[in-house]
Structures are given as C-alpha cells and as structure tokens.
C-alpha cells in the first residue's frame, strides 16, 4: 500500500477500492480525499466502482435466494442421525467420504493387479495388509521417488488440473496433479493420479525441503477418466474418497490456490 499517492489506472482502482472498503489508513484516506476534490475523473471512477457493489447486491439479493428445504431441515434437525442426508429429497448427495483416515496407513501389500504402480515406485517394500481389513485396495508406500521418476517430474512441474505426459517406456501414460497442500508435519504435498486409461493409481506424495518426493499413500483405480476441455476429470468414486479422507486428515489449513502452487512449482523448478 505504499505508492498510494501517484498513479492512475489499476493502481488508482486499488486505492479507490480500498477506500470504499475503509481499508486505507487515515493518511492514505485523507490524501485520496484531497485528490477526489480536484479530480473529476477520479470521482467518476469512484462512483462507477461503488455502483458495481450496488448492482451486485441487487443481482444477488439475499431475500431472493432460495435454500432448499431439505438442507434447512438438516440443520434444524436435533439428532445427528439426520445429518446423513440420505433422505434429502431432490438434492443430489455428494459421495460420502467413507471411513475417516486420521493417520497415515500402515504400509499395506501391493496388490498383484497393480504391477504398474509397483513399477512406478522405486524401492517400495511389500509389507502387511492394512490392519482394519476394510480398505483392501488401499496401498501405502514408504518409498521415495527417484528424482527422474515420472511422478516426481510431474509433481515438480505440472499445475493441478493439468496432465504431464510420461515419456520413455511408459509413454502414453499420464500423471495428473489434483491438489496441493501443506501437511501438518510441514511437508509440501500433492494429490495426484497416474497411469493409463485402463489402470491408474491415485495418491498423495510429499516432500520436505530438499528431500525427494515420497509417496505416502496411494490407491489403485480403474483407469484415468478422460479430461474435459477445462482440464478436469470426474473423480472415480470410492478410490478418490479414500484419498480425500487421507488428505483431510493430514492437511494443515487449506489447499493451496493456483498462485501459491505456482510459486512452489517455480521454486521446485529452480532447484533442479
């Protein structure tokens, strides 16, 4: 907010906008008010910006917004059982996130059917099945990824919502970062999908400072869904929700937005 005293165009809009919201300090506000007294164009711009807010509040009038009765009923209900929402008429329920995973899983056996995934993970050690027996297809790896591993390369370079084309022997396969976040242990983590249209994995890999990417958890999937024009794929049901539960459990705060992620990606690229 320095440079508040000389500018036009975008910077001018910044100041006017902050002025409208009462977010300028007293000196800045006084300086802007002095300019407004002598600058008719600036005054007109302020009126235009104020009119934007007014028009928006008219177009999204709270009184006219309808909240579905089924959702109101969920909130009004006194017993937690009704929270399930299965009886919500006319509203499509979101896929329920099945079981809560609050801790990283004990490494589980790598299912024979997902040789592809085993191939992806350098040095991952087969171990015992998941203790709860409930998530047979959930696979956890303790192994790090080699720096030139396709998943590591993709996680270092590819924004979420985009696809990284694997080269070499696995050409034709893709790695698709889905979401980036910081874990409660401080590591930078990304959820991703990798594989082909027929076989895939969905998982979370993390890295701490200068260490290598390590896959913390992954689940086998039935293949990547085709991407739409906007770069979004339909998440595949149960597999995705297991990973989503894991993410929920280890995420510190919010997922990174596009800008924060881009910052990390460019940082990662600079290291290499």
């Amino acid at each position: 907010m320095d440079d508040m005293h000389s500018r036009d165009g975008k910077d001018g809009d910044d100041a006017l906008s902050a002025y409208m919201d009462g977010e300028l300090n007293a000196d800045e506000a006084a300086a802007l008010e002095r300019r407004l007294q002598t600058d008719a164009a600036l005054r007109a711009r302020l009126d235009d910006l104020r009119a934007v807010d007014k028009a928006l509040n008219n177009a999204f009038d709270l009184q006219a917004l309808e909240v579905p009765a089924s959702i109101e009923a969920m909130v009004a209900a006194n017993d937690a059982a009704s929270v399930d929402g299965s009886g919500a008429g006319g509203v499509v329920p979101f896929p329920k996130r099945g079981r809560a995973i609050r801790q990283p899983f004990v490494p589980a056996a790598i299912a024979a059917s997902v040789a592809l995934i085993a191939g992806y993970i350098a040095g991952s050690a087969p171990s015992t099945p998941a203790p709860d027996g409930g998530a047979a297809n959930l696979i956890a790896f303790a192994g790090p990824l080699a720096a030139d591993h396709p998943i590591a390369e993709a996680l270092n370079a590819t924004p979420s919502g985009s696809a990284f084309a694997v080269k070499g022997v696995d050409a034709g396969e893709e790695v698709r970062p889905i979401l980036s976040f910081q874990a409660t242990d401080g590591a930078f983590c990304r959820e991703f999908e990798a594989g082909s249209l027929t076989t895939s994995m969905r998982g979370v890999a993390c890295r701490e400072d200068d260490e290598a990417w390590a896959v913390r958890v992954a689940v086998a999937g039935g293949g990547l869904a085709p991407l739409d024009a906007a770069g979004y794929a339909t998440a595949s049901s149960a597999d995705a929700s297991l990973i989503a539960d894991y993410v929920d459990g280890v995420m510190d705060g919010d997922p990174l937005d596009a800008e924060q992620e881009a910052e990390f990606i460019s940082h990662a690229a600079g290291e290499r």
């Binding site: 907010m1 975008k10 809009d13 910044d14 906008s17 902050a18 919201d21 711009r45 235009d48 910006l49 104020r50 009119a51 934007v52 807010d53 007014k54 028009a55 928006l56 509040n57 008219n58 177009a59 999204f60 009038d61 709270l62 009184q63 006219a64 917004l65 309808e66 909240v67 579905p68 959702i71 109101e72 969920m74 909130v75 009004a76 006194n78 937690a80 929270v83 929402g85 509203v91 499509v92 979101f94 609050r102 889905i178 979401l179 409660t184 739409d228 906007a230 979004y232 794929a233 339909t234 998440a235 989503a244 993410v247 919010d254 997922p255 990174l256 937005d257 596009a258 800008e259 924060q260």
Partner: protein
C-alpha cells in the same frame, strides 16, 4: 485438525442464505450451488466448528475448501449462466450506468471473472468482510485480496459501463 464440537444450529440456519450466495458465486449454477451447500452443511454438522472460531467465517472456509478440493475435481464446472435470477428490484433514482444494468448482465459479467476475483468480491462487497477476514477465508495475503477485489470491481465497471440502458 478439527475435533468434534457442537454447531450452533440456529446461527447456521441464519447464515444459510449467505452461504448459498457464496456457493452460487463459486459454482455459477444453481444446482451445483445446492450440492456444494449441502456438502458444506454436512461437513459442518459432522465435524463441528472449533469453539473459538466464528461460525460464519468457518462455514465460508469449509465451503471454499470443499469447492476447491472436491467439487471442482468432479467436473461440475459448466459455463452456463446462474439460473436463479431473482425478480428485479426497483432501483432508486441516483444510479450510475452500472446500477441500471440488468440483473442478468450483472450476473453474466461476474461469471466471466476468474474464480479468485469472484470469491473476493463476494466476501467483501456482498458479505462485508474486512480484507483481513477475507484473507483468512481465502488463505491468501491481504494484498492479494485487495488486488483481486480491485481488479474485479474494475472489470465489472468496465463491462457494465457499456451495457445498454433499459428503455
């Protein structure tokens, strides 16, 4: 990590229309907005709200996270207009060109903005959050909120300055 705590249900009930509006601004479609709203309410009721958190702010954060994390990856983004335009309200006399633009034009112009800008202008210009509060909800620096908001207002002002006046 949020531990299970109770939710003030009557306060949540009151904030539902505001949450719905935020959902509408994020998703740009009424059905998707209701889906997102329901998912948000389910999450709030099942996981609770930390005792020291402001319910409204917390609810907006949860809503936004679900949108980023879950809904968007389910490919609910469609470039179809928001289809729940309310009845036009009579506007008072001293309006600038902008305020005379039709509700459809206003909504269309908002929909054409990037998500980050839509979110910022909803939180500040409609919900009345301070930049600091909006920054907390959006998990972004205050300066970023300020510039997103300013760009959003400028783009809307420019888009609607040329809007034809109603006859």
């Amino acid at each position: 990590m949020v531990t299970n705590t109770s939710v003030n249900r009557s306060a949540l009930l009151e904030t539902l229309p505001r949450l719905k509006r935020f959902c509408l601004v994020l998703t740009r479609r009424s059905e998707d907005a209701d889906d997102l709203l329901q998912a948000t309410v389910e999450r709030l009721l099942s996981k609770g709200v930390p005792p020291d958190a402001d319910l409204n702010k917390w609810a907006f954060r949860v809503c936004r996270n679900i949108w980023i994390d879950e809904v968007r990856s389910r490919n609910v983004r469609r470039a179809t207009p928001i289809d729940e335009a309310p009845e036009p309200n009579p506007l008072d006399g001293e309006c600038a060109a902008m305020a005379r633009a039709s509700l459809t034009e206003v909504r269309g112009a908002l929909e054409s903005l990037p998500e980050e800008q839509r979110e910022a202008i909803c939180l500040v210009a409609m919900e009345g959050y301070s930049y600091k509060e909006a920054a907390e909800i959006m998990n972004a620096p205050i300066g970023t909120v300020m510039s997103r908001l300013s760009r959003a207002r400028a783009a809307l002002a420019d888009a609607l300055a040329d809007a034809p006046l109603p006859t």
